[in-house]
Amino acid sequence: MANLNIDSIKARTFDAIVIGSGMSGGWAAKELTDKGLKTLVIERGRNVVHNKDYPTTNLYPWELPHGGRLPYEVQQANPIASRCYVFKEDAQHFVVKDAEHPYVQEKPFDWIRGYQVGGKSLLWARQTQRWSKYDFEGPARDGFAVPWPIGYDDLAPWYSHVEKFAGISGNRDGLAALPDGEFMPGFPLNAAEDHFRRQMQRHHPDRPVISARCAHLSKPQPIHYEQGRVQCQNRTLCQRGCPFGGYFSSNSSTLPWAMKSGHLTLAPDLVVHSILYDEQKGRATGVRVIDAHTKATTEYYAPVLFVNAGALNTNLILLNSTSGRFPQGLGNDSGVLGKYVAFHNYSARVFADYEGAQEFTTDGRNPAGGGYLPRFRNVFKQETDFLRGYATSFGASRGLAQPAQGFGAELKRQLEHPALKPWSVGAGMMGETIPKESNYVRLDPSRKDAWGMPLLSVSVAYDDNDAKMKQDFFEQMSGMFAQAGFTNIKTSDSHQAPGLDIHEMGGVRMGHDPRTSLLNKWNQLHACPNVYVTDGAAMTSTSTQNPSLTYMALTARAVEHAVRELKQRNLPTT
């Protein structure tokens, strides 16, 4: 029996364990296995194999049972998921259903999740921008949160590292506020978007309009062919999973790459209960997991752990990892764990018409979505009565006219030979929010889910700074649209709850000081250094960039550090 036990423990022991297989977990898996570490990746959801488990990917619109719309009963049963733009008939199987995974909203918060191998990397909007030095310096300069323990120069080589592999399209725009990266050709602006770019060049030279930078293969390189990925085919059906691997996802890129190394064990359908902490050894030794189907409990062991469960679930796991040494959750000597959660304010849009450029339209589809205006407020110094600022997505398109009235042969003729409408333009705010102690997550004291895990209780809200910033966005963008000659300018406040931006961050923030932060400059828990957190939970502040690229870079950088520490025996091994 003793031998059997030893064999069983050996079979459950790895060089590294990664919790989560989404955007950052996939990167941890790739980097660890690239360095020869026998790596276990644990995923709470089912397996989704690239090109095998994309059931809707090649369906024509008429082949979807309801043309893409979800049945009324499904919408009614899923009020949270239904507010997410991706929860439609073609991708609803990749979005968590409300009733299956409840959580507590102390304040309204739409928590959008993707519980499967690949996580939300299958569903993301694929926008990828580097942070600049001004973004990292924000908290220290403006006196909020805590100073970042790293700056742009620390992350720049790792941005390059992940960009080359993931494949990023964009132009070298030479902007201080938005550093250039390792780019394949950008997707071009269309006639109306380019008109806006030229108008802003004239009226606001400090507000450049650039092609959105995105994780699409506009001109694949050998490293992408080696992954089995080919050129983006402009389908813009990305949320279904891409048979071409035209955009970056864990499923199409990092996970199959790690699998090919022979060092990866992928374990789907396992819910992580907690991280095990050995008081004698003074370090984490592994994880306790619950089988999603049988609910049986097992333990896995490794000398180093990466927590990439997705920002809020990473908080949940650490809060649930209690021991004599850490009664408030793993690494939580400071009491800061779960606090200073922040997000992006996506609640404001401005729409307009453009009567010019009537001689042009678009042909094919643009996976980048159009243009992007980097943050222009408070970049180099404080200029407004609110802190920080917003980036802006900007796009223009021409639809086909559909008569609102009439019927019969004449209506058919109009539908079959539709007139082109004028250009419609739209701008969306992506505002930085300030992390605050009062924006937090915690464990519900009594309620548990179907796996016996405490429910996560979320208390996150907007503040006055967000309101002032939104007002400024409406004023500035309306003014800029007017300067560009756009007409029928309309502002739109969605009043959406935090969370629907799907950019929740923080709770396990990085910082120099263990008294006010959880993670050091290498993303190790200050108090338990063989545990690394490299997903959105680690973010000290949010800036305005779409965050995934930064998680990827932080992860690759942290893995290199972990492997170096293991080799130098700074992290004790089993």
């Binding site: 090649n58 024509y60 619109p61 008429w62 309801h66 043309g67 719309r69 979800l70 049945p71 009324y72 009963e73 997707f187 071009p188 602006l189 269309n190 006639a191 978007e193 380019d194 085919q233 402009n234 389908r235 059906l237 009537q358 001689e359 042009f360 339209t361 678009t362 042909d363 094919g364 589809r365 643009n366 996976p367 398109s397 021409r398 639809g399 086909l400 559909q402 009235q405 009439g406 019927f407 019969g408 042969a409 209506l411 058919k412 003729r413 539908l415 079959e416 030979h417 539709p418 007139a419 082109l420």
Partner: protein, 191 residues
């Protein structure tokens, strides 16, 4: 004028629509259930037949297939039953139930018994002077029109022969000259 190929296509489409119908459908019998397995709507085969006539009036067969050829009333029933809020379903059912009475009042006979021009005249009156009719009949007309149009625009026929949907465009041109656009068979750039 219908050419031979179009006629063959119509036959194929009609056969396709018929394949969706279970054998029990006997037009005219009030006792028969509707052919789409309805979970919410209280509609029977004669309602369905009447709806098919309304849809055909909205989008009749011309040089291109009409609502009956494409089975668009089945699309309308499906979307109503599966994707529509209960109050809107109720209004639709009530409005459909009032259509024959309105037809009798305005045309002197039931909708189905009236010639095509008279059917069109009635629908035109409902569209342009809704105040002369009940709110339910107005709601029925608007929903039937929109769903029939949606069904046509999303049909395989329309997305392969009229405004063509490309699953794999493989290109993007943001300065495509409108003069190069063939609006006879446009390729939809945006979705």
């Amino acid at each position: 004028m219908m050419n031979r190929r179009l006629a063959v296509r119509h036959l194929t489409l009609v056969a396709g629509a018929a394949a969706l119908l279970p054998g029990c459908l006997a037009p005219g019998s009030d006792e028969q259930p509707a052919s789409y397995p309805l979970k919410h709507l209280a509609l029977n085969a004669s309602h369905e037949k009447l709806l098919a006539e309304v849809c055909e009036t909205l989008l009749p067969r011309t040089a291109t297939p009409g609502a009956k050829d494409l089975g668009l009333h089945l699309y309308v029933l499906k979307m109503l039953d599966d994707c529509t809020a209960p109050p809107d379903q109720k209004a639709f059912v009530a409005g459909l139930g009032q259509l024959d009475a309105a037809a009798t009042r305005q045309l002197g006979q039931a909708f189905g018994a009236s010639p095509a021009a008279q059917r069109a005249a009635l629908l035109q009156r409902i569209e342009q002077a809704p105040a002369q009719f009940s709110p339910e009949l107005g709601a029925f007309y608007r929903a039937a029109r929109q769903l029939t149009v949606d069904g046509y625009l999303s049909s395989k026929y329309f997305r392969t022969k009229e405004v063509v949907y490309e699953l794999v465009p493989g290109r993007y041109d943001g300065f495509f000259p409108v003069s190069n656009l063939n609006l006879a068979v446009p390729h939809h750039g945006q979705s």
